[in-house]
Symmetry: C2
Subunit: 185 residues, 2 copies
């Protein structure tokens, strides 16, 4: 971030009065430009005892498997974002069941949120960012070829809860490989 998006003048990085962190501040119009984490929202879409995974057709992690998920847009709710992303990535219509896992990923300024959802019908297909999409039983989950650590954690918690016969809400934070990695609660 180098230029003011309001007036086009050059930005400086300094701590504004009354603040305690460095911000991008415009030297001309005085606007302060804050940077905040983004929400990535998606679904564990269930069809009986199977769940829906998508194989990515884009970087990062081209060719690896993930839950349908993506950046939440302005003007929508978290549940609407989860439904939309599942439709875009897997052409699948879901009914949201419950929020299931929220995982902070501070080193990339993201929070990943996954809902449990029910596939309305067994009708899905690869969206623009997907090579293929398929239903998996627990035994067939491609654990070694999952795209993101948050997806792995979410699915571990999901199958553990399913075995326990009850689904609760899970929350944790993930750090880069080699850094502190806490167990999902």
């Amino acid at each position: 971030m180098k230029f003011c998006s309001h007036c086009g003048a050059a930005l400086s990085v300094l701590i504004p009065d009354g603040d305690n962190l460095p911000r991008h501040v415009c030297g001309k119009c005085g606007a302060i430009h804050y940077l905040n984490p983004k929400l990535v929202v998606g679904c564990i879409a269930e069809w009986h005892d199977q769940i829906l995974l998508c194989r990515r057709s884009i970087e990062p992690r081209y060719g690896l498997w993930t839950l349908p998920a993506g950046f939440m847009e302005n003007g929508e709710s978290t549940a609407a974002a989860a439904r939309r992303e599942t439709l875009e990535e897997a052409c699948a219509q879901v009914e949201i069941r419950q929020p299931f896992a929220m995982l902070s990923v501070p080193h990339i300024n993201q929070v990943h949120l996954f809902y449990r959802a029910r596939l309305r019908h067994k009708d899905f297909a690869a969206g623009l960012e997907t090579l293929e999409t398929a239903l998996f039983e627990e035994e067939a989950i491609p654990w070694q070829n999952l795209a993101f650590q948050t997806v792995t954690r979410c699915l571990q918690a999901y199958f553990a809860d399913r075995k326990a016969g009850r689904f609760t809400f899970h929350e944790d934070e993930l750090w880069p490989p080699g850094g502190l990695v806490a167990g999902i609660k």
Copy 2:
């Protein structure tokens, strides 16, 4: 948003290839500038059967009561954001208990997230954005003078759960007064 924060050139609003929503796109360097919802994170800080509220010393809602909460920063987890905001607004140290409520507010592009937390000691004071801070029993909550609809909803769910003898995770979306307002689940 009028100018590119990368190169300072003028932005146009158009739908990029492969996208389905209008975005701010730079005519010179081609950068696409996305706008995404922000997370506002805070605490219901408990001291025995009382909870901590702050009276705002800033707009919007100057003089009204709220839970300590604010914008999540890059580089932190949601739980860390809740602890930091409680320290900044009420000079209070808390131990996080559990995520309690997540409320989407689509018309202002925000998601409000509240944790249950335990005050470590009965030592608190007004922070820079607070006129005064105090502990309230349920009967004394200033319902008519709460600053935000999300705070009202969160506290209603909190006291209902406390009466029921168990705390669960609540999720809902709120719309402007006069629009659709769903009941908190």
